[in-house]
């Protein structure tokens, strides 16, 4: 795939269709891949990479990139196209300035999961028939491919590209995923258990803002948490309340806009399952207001910007499930 993508990019550059390419750049190890902009065939040959570790969603970079002169080629995985489409809906990207090539998505790998197996000193990772052969300074190691798959890919919602100019490889379908299982499990706990669960998780937060800054839905010119006039600006979780508040507001601000791309949890240095908060909103929206997938199209109204006269009342929350 990588070869084909490089060739496609070179051709589009040569034909003058685009003048730069956003993709992924090889790093020092097998897995430390950085999103990058390439402007020449030489650069592409030298360091463009597309492999099992290119999980980063490049859609958000297009907010900035699409406002520059010229046209940029973006390789988007299925999940990335949802993010991009949502940005189109919110007028955050200039669609005309992006040439989208849809590419097959994951499952992508999580280096942390390999390391969690005690494998360290990683020099290279190869996928041989869904067994990872890992060369390390301590010798050869191996593990099953699927045990190293990113959580976000393990509960993939769709293999379909919802927006593109051109497609490479075969188009996939929207999948039946088990993505709400964990949310449901939590819902079935008692309030005390849920409280304890989230306290344990959110107390790990170091407020690095990685979840917010990587989120393709969080593209505010100035975030309320960075704005001293907003009344809720803060830089560090000085109290458990602030840990809670940051994550409630963060999730609420993307409610109905979050495409469930899973980047927030992927980048969290403390492994907080932040996507569960987003998925809770998605699950509620589906249950209360009908199935809705943000980013599926670029025109429909976000559920929080819409209403029906016979919507359920807020006390539905008080009436259901265990306390």
């Amino acid at each position: 795939m990588q070869e084909a993508m490089i060739n496609k990019a070179k051709q589009l550059l040569a034909d003058g269709v685009v003048d730069r390419v956003i993709g992924w750049k090889r790093g020092e190890f097998a897995y430390d891949i950085t999103p990058a902009v390439f402007t020449s065939a030489e650069e592409l040959d030298e360091s463009f990479v597309y492999d099992d570790f290119t999980a980063a969603n490049v859609s958000k970079y297009l907010v900035k990139e699409s406002r520059k002169d010229g046209k940029v080629l973006a390789f988007l995985k299925p999940c990335d196209t949802y993010s991009f489409n949502q940005l189109v809906k919110e007028h955050r990207v200039v669609r005309e300035n992006v040439y989208i090539v849809g590419i097959p998505g994951g499952p992508k790998l999580d280096a942390e999961k390999i390391k969690a197996k005690g494998i360290t000193g990683i020099l290279s990772v190869k996928n041989e028939n869904y067994t990872l052969k890992i060369e390390t300074v301590y010798g050869e190691e191996s593990m099953p491919f699927y045990e190293a798959v990113l959580d976000k890919c393990a509960s993939c919602k769709s293999k379909k590209h919802v927006i593109y100019d051109e497609l490479m490889g075969e188009e996939g379908d929207v999948l039946d995923s088990n993505r709400f299982d964990m949310v449901e499990k939590l819902e079935n706990m008692t309030a005390q258990e849920r409280y304890d669960f989230w306290r344990e998780q959110l107390s790990k937060c170091i407020r690095c803002n990685a979840c917010r800054n990587v989120c393709p839905a969080c593209t505010c010119e100035k975030c309320v948490f960075d704005n001293p006039d907003s009344g809720i600006e803060n830089k560090a979780p000085a109290d458990s309340f602030e840990e809670n508040m940051f994550h409630i507001i963060r999730a609420f601000h993307v409610a109905g806009r979050c495409t469930d791309c899973g980047e927030c949890s992927r980048v969290c240095p403390q492994n907080i399952p932040l996507h569960l908060l987003n998925r809770k909103f998605i699950k509620d929206i589906n249950a209360f207001y009908g199935e809705y997938q943000a980013g599926e199209d670029a025109v429909s109204r976000a559920p929080l910007n819409e209403y029906k006269q016979n919507d359920c009342e807020a006390n539905i929350v008080h009436e259901r499930g265990v306390e």
């Binding site: 406002r67 809906k89 919110e90 007028h91 955050r92 593209t219 505010c220 010119e221 100035k222 975030c223 309320v224 704005n227 006039d229 907003s230 009344g231 601000h253 993307v254 109204r301 976000a302 929080l304 910007n305 819409e306 006269q309």
Partner: protein, 663 residues
């Protein structure tokens, strides 16, 4: 530094009996920024107000807090007092320590404590109050009336009478609407045409009224006082300015087999036609779907016979743009389609007709020249059954949930007219309830029963079956006799429910006005503002707001006109200063706010900005029109970046109140 004055009212004993007003004044006097804190018997009295005014002048106050009754009572009083003393009126806050404190609590200690907290919240808020000035927005002295039925005509005439220019947009080739098709009107039984057509002529001749017939509203922009409307004048292939309405073309037109919609399809018209004799404007229109010239390019007879040279086969739709200060919606109603009601055999049997069809069948200008004949065999019917509430008062899945209001009366009218003209005819009316609230209405209905011997039977018709002998079997229950009836009728007349015109829904979207689930326009207040929509500058006339008979329609039309005139006489409108505004530097241009604005007050503009990273960028940012915004604040919450805020109820003000209360 703020210089805030606090004024605690005793309200006689209303407050002072349960709240220790001295303690409140003293406690609030210790709050940061408060430099004077007083109590007084009656703050709202003239001497009380003077106390406030003098303090403003003497202490150079920058903010005033009055602890008194509800702001719904006297907020304006104290704002005006402040303004007269030179303080911006929006620097006044009221702490409600009467309705929400002294009147509901009994314990003096706790009521006093609560009054202090409420006072502190008001002080905290007033710290952040900004002086606000109500903006002004000019008013274009021209009105648009959408719909040229009796409602639209009446509204236009009234507005014109007041001296304002007014345009009527009517989608049909002539104005007149449904009333033009009606034979007689209840309860007086005068001829509809006789009272309507003079009004139509009056409208056409009024120098202030411009009629755009065969036209539609294509786009609406702007806001109260300053709407820009694009009107699409559909091509009628006849030059309106040249056509004299002589009618020669319609006589000579070889294509004469077009069902005549004015007569509900009971007879035919030509491809070039004038809907009816008294049409206004009396101008011919070519129906391009049936004209041979338009379809095949062969014919051109009308063009040859027209001495005025008015025929123009090449005419195209034309868009005209016009500014208006006010818009009146008068889109009226349509009878519902009866396809869903197989049991009444409407689609199988030509002798089952709707009431509107009966109007044409009985009209002197109708297909039979005023003689009531069965459509099937043109014989005189001897037994006629009327069925009430067809499609009205239904469960949502079965029809319209509302009462169509006019059917009881027109059915009584029909029954009476038929019995009067053809005494040999038996008339049955099957009803659920007879609803006749209205001046002389019940008397009218009783006359039908007592004087004209119309058989009113309580019970609904269950099934209508055309028989091979030409009779129609009507099966119904007589609930009072507790028996099932079979009537072999000659004709069945269905009182079909009425619904808003199909064009109303897209129009409402253009106007950003609200509609109910039945597509009737929603009035701004069901009791107190029945002819205004919630969108400023848009008024409602006639049946577009709900089912209405003619007198009610005319009354509402004049009321809407009056409301429009009230707007048009002003040179400018004072806006509510407590409106939303967007911080352009923070706005993402994501359109969330626009989506939740019920007034269409938010638009987006591309604007050049010097960005924090020293670059120049063109960004899409929200812009609130303060003349349209009503200040609900929905946008402020929809905005993820917090760029949108509300004057008078800003984020920081509300947070300050929360903080003060939770201290």
């Amino acid at each position: 530094m703020q210089r805030i004055g606090v004024f605690v009212c005793h309200c006689g004993t209303n407050i002072a009996a349960t709240v220790d007003v001295k303690a409140v004044a003293e406690a609030l006097g210790r709050e940061p920024g408060v430099i004077v804190s007083q109590d007084y018997q009656y703050m709202c009295s003239e001497s009380g107000q003077n106390l406030v005014k003098n303090a403003i002048k003497e202490h150079k106050l920058t903010g005033v807090v009055v602890c008194s009754c509800s702001p719904r009572m006297h907020e304006n009083t104290f704002r005006n007092a402040a303004a007269s003393a030179g303080l911006n009126p929006y620097l006044v806050e009221i702490a409600n320590i009467r309705e929400q404190c002294s009147w509901i609590h009994k314990d003096i200690a706790s009521a006093t404590e609560k009054a202090i907290i409420l006072g502190k919240a008001a002080v905290a808020k007033v710290h952040l109050n900004a002086p606000l000035t109500a903006g002004e927005s000019p008013v274009v002295k021209r009105a648009l009336v959408i719909g040229g039925g009796i409602a639209g005509i009446q509204t236009a005439l009234d507005i014109a009478e007041a001296g304002f220019d007014v345009d009527i947009v009517e989608k049909k080739p002539t104005i007149g609407g449904k009333m033009a098709q009606i034979d007689k009107t209840f309860p007086t039984l005068d001829c509809a045409a006789c009272i309507l057509t003079p009004k139509m002529v009056e409208a056409s001749q009024n120098e202030h009224i411009t009629i755009h017939s065969y036209s539609e509203v294509a786009d609406v922009k702007g806001f109260v006082g300053n709407f820009t409307v694009t009107i699409k004048k559909k091509a009628r292939f006849v030059d309106e300015t040249k056509c004299t309405g002589c009618g020669l073309c319609t006589e000579k037109c070889p294509m004469k087999k077009v069902p005549n919609e004015f007569n509900m399809g009971f007879d035919n018209r030509s491809a070039i036609y004038i809907p009816f004799a008294q049409a206004v404007p009396k101008v011919a229109t070519i129906d391009p779907n049936n004209c041979m010239m338009m379809k095949t390019g062969k014919c051109g007879v009308c063009s040859k016979v027209c001495s005025a040279g008015a025929i123009d086969y090449k005419q195209e739709d034309r868009l005209i743009e016009q500014q208006y200060g006010a818009i009146v919606v008068a889109t009226g109603f349509e009878p519902i389609k009866l396809d869903k009601y197989d049991e009444f055999a409407y689609n199988q049997c030509p002798d089952v007709v709707t009431s509107l069809e009966l109007e044409r069948l009985m009209n002197a200008a109708g297909p039979n020249g005023g003689t009531l004949l069965r459509p099937s065999d043109k014989t005189h019917p001897h037994k006629i059954v009327f069925v009430q509430c067809v499609g009205s008062r239904c469960d949502d899945s079965k029809g319209k949930p509302y009462c169509s209001k006019i059917c009881c009366m027109y059915t009584a009218k029909h029954a009476m007219l038929i019995r009067e003209k053809y005494p040999d005819t038996e008339v049955y009316v099957f009803y659920i309830d007879v609803r006749t609230p209205g001046k002389n209405f019940d008397e009218f209905y009783r006359r039908a029963v007592e004087q004209y011997n119309v058989h009113y039977i309580k019970g609904m018709v269950g099934k209508v079956t055309p028989r091979s002998d030409g009779k129609i079997d009507v099966q119904a229950s007589d609930l009072l006799a507790n028996e099932q009836l079979h009537i072999d009728a000659d004709m069945v007349v269905l009182a079909a429910a009425i619904e808003p015109d199909k064009t109303a829904r897209p129009l409402a979207t253009m106007l950003t006005t609200q509609m109910d689930t039945n597509d009737f326009f929603t009035e701004a207040h069901p009791k107190l503002r029945p002819v205004e929509s919630a969108t400023a500058g848009i008024f409602l006339s006639g049946a577009c707001q709900g089912p209405k008979d003619i007198p009610e329609t005319v009354a509402q039309a004049s009321a809407a006109a009056a409301k429009a005139i009230v707007l048009l006489v002003k040179n400018s409108i004072t806006c509510n200063p407590c409106v939303a505004h967007s911080d352009e530097l923070m706005c993402n241009g994501c359109s969330s706010c626009e989506k939740v604005c019920p007034y269409g007050a938010i638009t987006y503009i591309d604007k050049e900005f010097k960005m924090p990273d020293r670059t120049i960028a063109v960004r899409r940012v929200a812009s609130v029109n303060p003349a349209v915004c009503q200040g609900c604040g929905a946008c402020t919450v929809a905005c993820p970046s917090g760029a949108m805020d509300l004057n008078g109820f800003s984020n920081s003000q509300i947070i300050a109140e929360v903080d003060a209360i939770c201290k």
